[in-house]
Subunit: 625 residues, 2 copies
């Protein structure tokens, strides 16, 4: 049977294959964070005509159902159908982001003083042909040539030996070696006959608890060629790292968690590879960064000891893995460098963030905070670095929020609420795009605005009569941020509760860590904020919410996803990899979960902006107005 | 159905399973050099009662058939049967050889000045338990302990990382590491919880073109615990290395050749492992030596370039392989060290021989010759080493000789023919054993004896009337060496032709190589002879045959299988491994196949003892008598 898309394309479907599956086979990838279980509601399609069989309608409103919305993973065509795929469902290669970002990234790399010296290199060698007088073995000939060329020693893992004889003879003794420098020697990771110097790409990946972001990078010049991202489909086993560790341990499901993230990365990889018509042999290496649990699950390592006192990871500096060992669909010997971690709750993503912000090089005291699922903080300078993790939860990444979504096309990233008229103005990511949900920065704006407009009280309680946008919903009161075509985007009372808990944890983290090292917010010269927010994180609003401390606006800098930037840097530079390992060793970790002062600070932060209003004099003044 | 053995044992058989297969399943291994094709005739059994279905009777005489002889690989029981297994068919663990040999080997190792420093080591570590104050990762804890204990750096291949967390916690932070020292670091090859310091064994293997010999060695003290050997079942693809290379190349059968020898080694391994009730985890490492082709086939490397001018092997110094990569039935990470080779036709077995004879340490000029399938010669001293290979063929190892067999139990290893009465006296290997065939030393004795008794002329032609032991056989004239129970052991005219060609090639090799370096036989102080002969290789007889030069008897020393001895030494000592690599680099290789003077010498050697009788004055005197 036939599935026609309103965009004009037509693909083959079948009654025993979900629409999601058929789209995937045709190279159209939808967001599916529950792994086709029909529970996350992210793979919505609109059935315009034809009969379908839907096994699940979870997360679809009555209104949506009446409009033909269906979950692609749980819906099977019963004949020829026509479907429309809403923008927010499509797993996009964020092509248009690239141009700008690539220049920024290349400039950042240059500013560190590092040259392009990627994780793997290709060398083209013309060997002198074997003769009766020069009859050394193929392997010795190869090693001799590398020495002659000043390329240093060569280690040939046994698995490549059986390719060698044919490879050197196929194109008149000219070959290309792809190598990785490790343990002071060059180790072969691929052999080609003839000159195969280019193409030569690397992959940088940020494995977030909620989202996975993948960069396709040209290793010859550092160009960011493409970006793709998706939800981490481990979400179906739980939103936060602890739930996933419990699931891996108690349900003996380590393998499922491992496979979930590997499959996400493989999906993103096929997307960029097919988008640029690449052979997988063109991909020479991977650098991945993630928090410690994400890194261990990616590597298939039992994370159970991370959860139990004294909270011990298997490793902080990981041996190289190879694609074949992990199930990554690249050449089996493609090396995978995992970012070094600090401790069980301060991982490689944070080291990557420090590396990207260059905090470790500065004399002044700075704070780095990554507001992802956990909320990790580093404070320090070129002399010392101190870190902690506050369990903020994944709501700012859209998870656990009714209409929450990542900061991609269709996300409301900016919300202005007129304190008097209570009218709402929104800004949506993407050109001429209908809003599909709300991302972290939009949520912060919305709550701050609702608070100042009297729609929320200091406890975060919604005031039913404060605006006609407040209405009773399925989960209690809800505030309508946007309404179009009968499809509303709202923030519910449970959403607000989630967000207030998260912001309280973040502020408590700052306060406890500063107190521990004997400094105050006045001593801090810079606050770098990383995380999956849109471009326009409104710092004032975050201060009004009480998530960020009330210090001068100019001290804050919003950095975006520093984890994947760190991976990018390490993919391209040996100096950066050395720095990353130094940083991971230098950072001291403070365990907040056993800290009473953290719990006190957390409880004090459960108000908007805070119980201690003296720390927020400007907000107080605004409220008084 | 039931297969009863006359020895008393009883095993289960089936109509669709060959007797060989059923015996194998019951842990009784027979010699089977054709890989169960029913063509080599080595797996004979005698069916004493019951019905069988025999698919092949090749190599069985009418007399044997009438006595119930059958090929176990091609014979299927049709009901309950009783069989007798002749001694020569059983693949034996040569237990009784061991006691003596072990002391010799241990003494040899000691005499080199090397201490026991095996290829792999085990270390038992008691780690300090993790606490909130000492919360480094498991991997860092392990590395720190190794540094603290002065054991140096530790490299953990990624595949072990997922074992680590459980391993350290299972027995209260006590673990045993099995490691190999490579690239100046200790690399993990196995991890155990608790104290698993012993048992700790290594395997030394000689992969001959004709036979495979395996030593089970206790790595803690160098004791040779067991020996097992079999025919190299690659024989079914051809007797010599060239035929096998052709088969691998032209028939695309590299995989079959590789699997054949791997399966031989696996058979021998299960034999010694089950004989000593070992867990395969007790086997920590392998050292293998063989000629270059055998080494490449063992490693699964395409050998085609070895055969074509300029005769180039893939490698002479091989990277470590792991059991799992080769299909060796040991723990998959068990490292396999392959002996370094010199060139396409002078391999690791010869380097092992030089190492074992210590020729490379002596000031005097010595010759080393390994009379296996090829006949490789090394001449030199502590300053220089020169080598060549003369294609002698595998007949001295029993292959291509009607009643030829290896020098194991049942082999006639000594033959004395009275020149006057032409009566024959034989000596058989083993206590109270019926002769089953004739091995290399017996053949040399027999031909020299036949020659001196006038049964053979100088051209190797058999004289029909010279003795009543000469008779017409299926392949022309044959000489009956032994007759019992109606089963004769003979040397045929084709056997003699084979042997004369082989001895001519060996002598021509000596002569050409000496000539090349500008020395004569008078300059040689020592001749070390290695090969699969019995204990009593009679040097005089070999001189009469013209295989060895006529120089004083005391200059010759018969060394036995020096290839496996070299493997034994390298298994136990780092010093020996370094020496082996030095030797392989130091030996200069002379290509005889393009040498005219070698061809001339070869043709001159096709007489007994030689065309140039002046080089054999004593033999001439004997003949004149």
């Amino acid at each position: 049977m036939n599935i026609s898309l309103t965009s004009g394309k037509s693909i083959t479907g079948s009654a025993d294959k979900s629409i999601l599956e058929s789209l995937k086979e045709a190279g159209i990838f939808l967001t599916s964070s529950c792994g086709s279980k029909g529970v996350c509601g992210k793979c919505k399609v609109i059935v315009k005509s034809g009969e379908v069989d839907s096994k699940s309608q979870i997360k679809l409103s009555q209104e949506e159902i009446s409009q033909g919305y269906a979950l692609a993973c749980a819906t099977f065509p019963a004949g020829d159908i026509v479907i429309d795929i809403p923008k927010e469902s499509i797993l996009t290669v964020e092509g248009k982001v690239v141009t700008g970002k690539s220049k920024d990234l290349q400039a950042l790399l240059q500013s560190t003083g590092a040259s392009i010296d990627p994780l793997t290199e290709r060398s083209v060698l013309q060997l002198p042909p074997a003769t009766l007088d020069d009859n050394i073995s193929d392997l010795e000939r190869l090693k001799r040539e590398l020495m002659t060329e000043g390329l240093g020693c060569l280690r040939v893992p046994f698995r490549f030996l059986n390719k060698l004889s044919e490879a050197v003879r196929k194109e008149d003794w000219k070959i290309t070696l792809s190598t990785i420098h490790t343990d002071d020697c060059n180790e072969i990771i691929n052999i080609f006959s003839g000159d195969q110097k280019t193409p030569q790409y690397g992959i940088a990946v940020d494995i977030g608890t909620t989202t996975v972001v993948l960069y396709l990078v040209d290793l010859t010049n550092g160009e960011l060629v493409d970006v793709a991202s998706t939800y981490n489909s481990q979400i179906r086993f739980g939103d936060d790292v602890i739930t996933r560790i419990v699931h891996a341990t108690e349900n003996n499901e380590l393998k499922s968690l491992h496979s979930a993230v590997i499959s996400d990365i493989n999906d993103l990889l096929s997307l960029v590879v097919s988008n640029h018509n690449l052979n997988t042999d063109a991909i020479d290496c991977f650098v991945i960064s993630g928090n410690t649990t994400m890194t261990q699950l990616f590597l298939g390592l039992d994370p159970s000891a991370i959860r139990e006192e004294p909270y011990i990871p298997t490793a902080n500096i990981f041996p190289l893995a190879y694609a074949g060992e992990l199930g990554i669909k690249s050449h089996r010997s493609t090396p995978i460098y995992s970012f070094p971690c600090v401790a069980s709750y301060v991982g490689g993503d944070i080291v990557a963030g420090v590396l990207a912000t260059r905090l470790h090089e500065k004399e002044e005291i700075s704070i780095f905070i990554d507001i992802g699922t956990n909320g990790e903080i580093v404070i320090g300078n070129s002399e010392w670095l101190m870190s902690a993790a506050c369990s903020a939860g994944p709501c700012f990444e859209g998870s656990g929020i009714k209409h929450g979504m990542r900061a991609t096309d269709g996300a409301i990233e900016n919300v202005i609420i007129d304190p008097d008229t209570k009218e709402v103005e929104i800004k949506v990511i993407g050109d001429d795009v209908q809003p599909a949900g709300i991302c972290g920065s939009g949520m912060i704006d919305a709550i701050a605005g609702m608070f100042l407009a009297g729609i929320l009280d200091q406890k975060g309680k919604m005031q039913e009569d404060a605006s006609d946008r407040v209405r009773k919903g399925e989960e209690g009161l809800e505030f309508v941020i946007h309404s179009s075509d009968g499809r509303d985007i709202v923030l519910t009372e449970p959403d607000i509760e989630n967000l207030v808990r998260a912001k309280a944890a973040i502020y408590a983290g700052f306060a406890t860590l500063l107190n521990e090292v004997g400094f105050t917010f006045d001593d801090v010269q810079k606050v770098y904020i990383a995380g999956g927010f849109g471009k326009f994180l409104d710092i004032e609003k975050a201060i009004i919410l009480g998530m960020l401390p009330e210090i001068p606006r100019e001290k804050f800098e919003y950095m975006g996803n520093t984890s994947v930037v760190g991976s990018y840097l390490c993919l391209l530079s040996r100096k950066m990899r050395a720095e990353a390992e130094e940083i991971s060793q230098k950072i001291t970790y403070l365990e907040l979960s056993v800290s009473n002062s953290f719990m006190d600070e957390y409880m004090s932060g459960m108000f908007i902006p805070h119980t201690n209003m003296e720390a927020f004099p400007n907000v107080k003044a605004m409220m008084d107005k």
